[in-house]
């Protein structure tokens, strides 16, 4: 892979998207089958439900070099598991506010509801998030210098 990345380009953020299996992951699939592009630096981890996403996973992603983390689930009311995303909503609302309280940029973490039918929206959301994070710049406040050692 080295030969692909040797050229130091301008800042391209590293973005992790947690997508629930039923809506958002399917939405991403639909974006794919509709050939609706978004940058390659968005990488998706499949979880059964947005409520499976532990704040620890988000912090871990930042530690490991993510510049932005986005969590996608079914629209509230449409959760495949009935109430999962309602808990997600509270968990993330309090977590985001808390992270910002500690001085972490509030734009860095985001929640978006994307249904299985919203391929276009998935792509639009990702494009927008990449743009936001690119403007925001590298994640320095929640990164772990040890991880990047040697880079």
């Amino acid at each position: 892979m080295q030969d692909v990345t040797t050229e130091k380009k301008e800042f391209t953020p590293n973005i992790v998207a947690f997508c629930c299996n039923w809506c958002s992951y399917a939405g991403a699939d639909l974006a794919g089958s509709s050939r609706l592009t978004y940058p390659a630096n968005v990488k998706i981890i499949r979880v059964p439900c947005s409520c499976r996403v532990n704040p620890m996973f988000i912090l871990k992603a930042y530690q490991q070099g993510a510049d932005g983390v986005i969590l996608c689930g079914c629209h509230p009311g449409d959760c495949h598991y009935v109430t999962g995303n309602y808990y997600t909503r509270r968990r993330m609302a309090t977590l985001f506010s808390f992270l910002n309280y500690m001085g972490i940029e509030k734009e860095r973490t985001r929640v978006e509801w994307v249904s299985a039918a919203e391929g276009a929206r998935f792509s639009a959301v990702m494009n927008d998030f990449v743009k936001t994070i690119t403007e925001l710049g590298e994640n320095k406040r929640l990164s772990d210098l040890r991880v990047k050692e040697g880079e």
Binding site: M56, Y87, R89, T94
Partner: protein
């Protein structure tokens, strides 16, 4: 306070002597006037030799009941107003066997912080006498009078808690109900810029030596095995090897007790580096109050916490910054 102490001692002796309880959880005299320790008294003699209740009995005894309430026989415990919230929360989480505990509610009148007294330049404290808002501090080097609100424990400075649990009470002096805003410090931080807040916490958390005192004293941190000690959790660590680790520990710690933290203030009391840890927990409390309606953990021993309930109209995470939360 002396009269309360005598009454408590008398009652404890009675309970033990009559066999009503097998043990009493209270405070024991230390080497100085300011260092009592939590203790379990099993005999009248032990009580006579060391029982104390004074202005330095700040420790929250409720967490000890997790273990003690499992023992044979009933346990009597002295709980200050703030301690009863922790007690309730632990009962709610099935960590304390309520039927094995006899709760004696005791008055508090705010506890003093020896570190704050020392910081006023008084060393070698030999005794204190509290008269209203004046504290006469005697030391080897003489006597001084300090203003009480400046030398009480942080948790006491903003306290307006009342006993939530009592099987009986020993209250000889009523503490006036006060109008205090425990979120004032949180609001100050919120009013700062992102950069300022980041700098503030960076400096504060850089002091952390990861001694786990805050965690181990916390009544909400009652896990049999903490995620930070569990190699399978993916975040286990023993030292703050990096700035990230410092933040990680305190974010997760605060998050794990969010909705369960009663704001008992023990974390800040025990921090050897005096990191204002309560400001982390209180941020969660304030946000949850603002977003989901006022909620005081430990007010009841039943019901769900804000993070284990929901409404269909809850605010979106991306919007909290424009709303009540901030």
């Amino acid at each position: 306070m002396k009269d309360v102490e005598l009454k408590m001692l008398e009652r404890a002796k009675e309970l033990l002597a009559s066999g009503e309880v097998a043990r009493v959880v209270g405070w024991k005299k230390g080497d100085f006037c300011y260092d009592p320790s939590p203790a379990v008294f099993k005999t009248v003699e032990e009580l006579e030799n060391g029982f104390v209740y004074d202005y330095f009995c700040g420790a929250n005894l409720s967490k000890y009941l997790i273990d003690v309430s499992k023992k044979e026989g009933k346990t009597a415990v002295f709980l200050k107003p703030c301690d009863t919230y922790s007690f309730n929360q632990l009962v709610k989480e099935h960590r304390i066997k309520r039927e094995n505990v006899y709760v004696i509610a005791v008055e508090c009148m705010a506890k003093l912080d020896i570190e704050k007294i020392k910081a006023k330049g008084v060393s070698f404290v030999t005794g204190v006498e509290v008269v209203e808002k004046d504290v006469k501090v005697s030391s080897l080097y003489g006597e001084t009078t300090l203003y009480k609100p400046e030398i009480v424990l942080e948790k006491c400075a903003v306290c307006n808690k009342t006993h939530q649990v009592k099987d009986e009470e020993i209250i000889l002096h009523e503490r006036p109900v006060r109008d205090v805003n425990r979120f004032a410090e949180v609001e100050k931080l919120e009013a700062m810029t992102e950069d300022e807040r980041f700098a503030f916490w960076k400096e504060q958390l850089s002091k952390c030596i990861r001694c786990n005192a805050c965690r181990n004293v916390c009544p909400a941190c009652s896990c049999i095995k903490c995620v930070f000690d569990n190699p399978n959790s993916g975040i286990a660590a023993k030292a703050n090897d990096s700035e990230f680790e410092e933040k990680m520990f305190h974010i997760i710690r605060a998050y794990h007790v969010a909705g369960r933290c009663t704001d008992c203030g023990e974390c800040s009391r025990v921090c050897p580096q005096n990191i204002p840890l309560h400001l982390l927990n209180r941020k969660f409390i304030k946000d949850m109050d603002g977003l989901y309606g006022e909620y005081q953990a430990g007010e009841s021993s039943e019901g769900k916490t804000p993070l284990t309930s929901y409404t269909e109209e809850d605010k979106e995470p991306n919007d909290v910054f424009n709303g009540e939360a901030k």
